[in-house]
Symmetry: C2
């Protein structure tokens, strides 16, 4: 059975949990968090020198880092990885957008509001910049989702998993999702997928 | 023929030019730069609402954004995209690492030193943080490349193109490449690939 080393409250770590639930894949979860220094322990950095979660560990001990690369590995050969060459590249386009233009603003602002040990980094100027950049990312998604039900096209893909993770909890970072109607409707579409599981247990 | 909309001096825009040269693919280059506002012109944002280059335009007019997604599209079906499922995911792991942990530090520090219109953002505190984070990214590469000739394994892949782009010019951002011996040897291996072209014309 595969193991996910991850922090339950992290959207990046939620991504593989959500996809494995949608695909019906069993997995073992090992809690590792940056909040208590777990990601900087030698036993963990031996597995991921970049000291980040999530980390996927295969049954044979091989490991894979980077949440979106893990999604691509898990989705390979399933309906969540588009078969068409262009559509597959479009899914990747949205995943790289997520890591460069969305997560560093939408997710980071949430972290600064949510985790007490980061509170001293939440200066007014930084919070304002993160708000503007996060809203810009949500607007780019809004433009896309006004014209297509899922990010890569007509069917749900890894791109939707990658962007659902921090968009669905963006309000915890002070973003107003009702300002983004197409994004909100898309969030509901993802929540309706068979096998969907929420980030945190009820 | 495909068209690359891009800025010649940008490493992100160099990535598709380099891969197309290595693959022997002809292309048309259209210069679009953020420095003169070109990426914010309506004619360009109609093609890429995220207002960034590079942008690949296919012969039929379809477009693709995000440099690393463009690399994956171009490499699909060639030796630069590993056939093995795990190795392909490892290549993607390094490409997501590039966009999250490398480019925002190594490339951004170079931009702040190189482009006069960004100079007011180059505060001593920011430059120091970028130096530390960039060196951390280079150390993660060093650890990997001490044990394998190319990032995804024994053969060159899209991951090497993605990370060559801003690593080869990291000294323009104040990084000292001779401190990273395995990285330096790898840069030479990439430069020796048949069809290699430099970022800027001689």
């Amino acid at each position: 059975m595969m193991t996910i080393h991850g922090m339950t409250d992290s959207g990046n770590c939620y991504k593989p949990r959500l996809l494995m639930a949608l695909l019906g894949l069993p997995f073992r979860h090992v809690e590792v968090s940056f909040l208590d220094g777990g990601t900087r322990q030698p036993a963990f950095t031996a597995k991921n020198p970049n000291a980040k979660v999530p980390l996927l560990e295969l049954e044979d001990g091989r490991v894979l880092a980077e949440s979106n690369a893990i999604l691509c590995y898990l989705a390979d050969g399933t309906s969540y990885m588009p078969l068409d060459r262009y559509e597959r590249a479009v899914a990747l386009q949205w995943m790289f957008f997520e890591q460069y233009s969305h997560e560093p603003h939408v997710a980071v602002r949430r972290s600064l509001m949510r985790y007490e040990r980061l509170a001293d980094q939440a200066t007014p100027a930084r919070m304002q910049t993160l708000l503007e950049q996060g809203n810009k990312a949500l607007s780019v998604m809004e433009t896309r989702l006004a014209g297509t039900p899922f990010l890569a096209g007509t069917a749900p893909s890894v791109a939707d998993i990658a962007l659902f993770a921090y968009t669905h909890c963006a309000e915890e970072g002070g973003f107003v999702l009702e300002d983004f109607r197409a994004v909100s409707a898309w969030l509901d579409r993802v929540r309706s997928l068979p096998g969907f599981r929420p980030m945190l247990p009820d």
